[in-house]
């Protein structure tokens, strides 16, 4: 299980009403528990079990919550446009239409870059900044999570 997937699971717990989530994959079990203290939700992430490692590559062990990368991301010049909700990513208004943007497209702040749909609620996602689309992080029709990066934009 890679770090990005663990980050998604943390986001899922943060934005839902569930108090704990346990996922086991590739011999690694991750359990995320939400503890409410006053009005602030604490979300510790702990590895509760590490099964015997089959491959030679050691499995990661987390002892503290993964830090959500702040924008800019790994490429310090790029800004993420994130999904505000769980849903399905659509790059165009309908299958016959041209995509709102493609790699290299210039966007202005407020331009619509995609649609995220969940349960027949269509959310036109706008760019937060003016710049150039450097990367489209998901494919048309992909399921996306709350807070997941949809685009990387190089600001003007």
């Amino acid at each position: 299980m890679d770090f990005k997937k663990i980050k998604k699971l943390v986001s899922l717990v943060e934005t839902s009403d569930i108090s704990s989530l346990s996922v086991e994959e590739d011999n690694l079990k991750v359990e995320i528990k939400r503890e409410l203290q006053s009005s602030i939700a604490q979300i510790p992430v702990t590895t509760v079990q590490q099964a015997p490692v089959v491959s030679a590559t050691p499995q990661p062990t987390l002892s503290e919550p993964p830090k959500t990368p702040e924008t800019p991301t790994e490429n310090s010049d790029l800004i993420e446009i994130k999904s505000p909700m769980v849903g399905t990513f659509y790059s165009a208004t309908n299958p016959e239409s041209k995509p709102f943007v493609s790699n290299g497209s210039a966007v202005q702040k407020g331009d619509i870059v995609c649609i995220v749909e969940a349960m027949k609620l269509f959310n036109e996602i706008e760019s937060d900044i003016s710049g150039t689309i450097e990367k489209i992080c998901v494919n048309n029709g992909d399921a996306v999570e709350f807070g997941q990066a949809l685009f990387l934009v190089r600001p003007n």
Binding site: T15, S16, D17, P84, M85, V86, G87, T88, N94, P95, G110, E117, A118, M119, K120, L121, F122, N123, E124, I125, E126, D142, A143, F146
Partner: protein, 264 residues
Amino acid sequence: MTSVIEKTDAALSAVIQSHSFISTLTYFESISSTNAYALDACQVGKIKPGALVIADHQQAGKGRFQNSWESNPGEDILMSLVLEPHCSPDHWARISFPLGIAVRNALKKILNQHVSIELKWPNDILVGGHKCVGMLHAADVSTGCVILGIGINVNQESQLIDRTSLKMVSGKALNRWRVLNEILTAIGTQLDSILSSTIDADAWNAHAAYLGKPVQVLDQALITGEFRGIDPHGAALIQTSDGIKRTLVGANLRLIDGSIENRQ
């Protein structure tokens, strides 16, 4: 070019004025789509939360993507209601569930008590087993508004085997604005739940269509199994041979027993 003809109607205005959560009414004889108009008007500040947009006819009335929603002028209720939810945008998709319960409550007051009125996940309403109400919503995070698009077949006599109308069910034509008044009354009663997108799963499941029946829904892959209703997040629960699967992003829940609802 899209023709836009605005009109006034004293009886409609009187209905609207009796509902305090409605701030303005925009009534069109003909418009491309009430949702498209409301979204654009909301984004430029022309209309505010509480605005109600109604049309006698939509030139490009839409269901999900390519699905058309057709009606003859003046027969049905085609409306978009602009609301400003109290919850964060990631919960907005849940608004259909309290809204569906409200619309169902309204129809229950209008129709014979023996007619079945069922909620089809995620947000259609079946009357007597056929589609009578369709809902399609648009969100605009920048203004914090949701456009609730609701189409109610009131007096149309659809030739489509999977559709029905209140007239077809009751055997008599109904006054559209009386129906609208009941809808707005029910929405007003459920307004707190709608604005907070609060899901009462038990209340919704009590009237869920296809409960316990074999269904299919397309998520990232096709899920086939027995419909078990919704969970507190609004996800559809499907009992499959591999256990219960839940989907939040799938659409078009379909019966797979070959009955007429399967063709929706």
